[in-house]
Point group: C2
Chain length 213, copies 2
């Protein structure tokens, strides 16, 4: 985000900026998006004022970290597309990876759970990545009629909810596949078609984001 800005930062400032980003990723991963700015600055070995000199608001930092998540998603799709033994393999690998990431990174989980309004540009990138990862299954006719990108996005939310039965508690990995199985199975072909799509969640997200600018 600000890492390579218009005119170059002084060396120490650049170093501190990077430290802040690293510290924020760590702190958010452990404690979720509610971790305070002071704690992040402390971890970065920096004063609170220094933080606010680089990021106008805490929200800006959250967006910067969120962009990292989007990149992770895109890379996850690239990796998932490698395995093409069977039509649904890539989609399954993607969803499974999403569970792992949400489990190990509380902020990622909260981001998926939409604890904040993400910039449109970034949600668009996520949707594009999802479209890529579901393409093989779609082409092979392995997907239930009516399943679309927004549904896969929703599936990641549902799976995230599944592996966190209560606040602060995380289901052991061995139990995750139960839910992944249920969802994959519900998304597979050879079922009655899904009811018609009455609304496009992505469009609504776009609308809300635009309104909040």
């Amino acid at each position: 985000m600000n890492v390579s800005n218009a005119y170059p930062l002084r060396a120490d400032a650049q170093r501190n900026l990077e430290r802040i980003l690293v510290a924020a990723r760590e702190a958010f991963a452990e404690g979720g998006l509610d971790v305070g700015v002071e704690e992040i600055a402390r971890r970065a070995g920096v004063g609170k004022a220094t933080f606010f000199r680089r990021f106008p608001t805490k929200e800006a930092l959250v967006h910067a970290v969120y962009e990292g998540f989007v990149i992770e998603v895109e890379e996850s799709v690239d990796r998932a597309l490698q395995e093409d033994d069977e039509p649904l393999a890539a989609l399954r690998a993607f969803l499974r990876h999403s569970m792992t990431t949400q489990a190990g990174n509380k902020a990622f989980f909260e981001a998926v759970a939409s604890r904040f309004v993400a910039p449109v540009e970034l949600t668009d990138r996520v949707m594009a990545a999802i479209a890529r990862v579901m393409a093989p299954a779609e082409a092979a006719g392995a997907l239930r009629e009516g399943v679309e990108a927004g549904d896969i996005s929703t599936a990641t939310k549902m799976l995230g909810a599944a592996i966190r039965p209560m606040d602060g508690l995380l289901l052991p990995e061995a139990a995750w596949d139960r839910y992944l199985d249920v969802v994959i199975c519900g998304l597979s072909a050879d079922q009655a078609p899904l009811p018609g799509v009455a609304a496009d969640p992505c469009a609504m997200v776009r609308e809300v984001s635009a309104k909040s600018v």
Copy 2:
């Protein structure tokens, strides 16, 4: 909870207590569990101190309201059990009703999403109700092998997550059945059995609750 206490409250105190409970239910339904105590007291036409005279802490109020939710769940199961056209009907009706309630009541949604640690006694009641509502389907062999009460509880969480694509946004009702279909379908028989249960979420919930007492 405190409504009918050990020794009788004075008439005005009893009236105010009821007003507080009603106001809390409304306020929580609209704004979620983060609504402040002051706002609730204001809605009840009462001072903040009066609130804290009846409830030792805000958490106590949340638990009282949560007990109301548990009763709603139990009633919902009673109603769902009426419709027995086909084996899965009751379960489906129950999950559908849970979606409606979560949609119309932000606090209920957050309670399902486990935004707080509920008392063991109440989570036990929820689990018992779920066991009742899934019994017909189970008896008819309509459930996939390995599906148990904890999975239905998780299903309500997943469906709650599905209908709220982002903070403050609610999917229109017409789109809900898509996800209900996916989940019901994944829970139905005639699929490969679910992977073995490595952990019992309910037991873990019980453990965590005990620790926090």
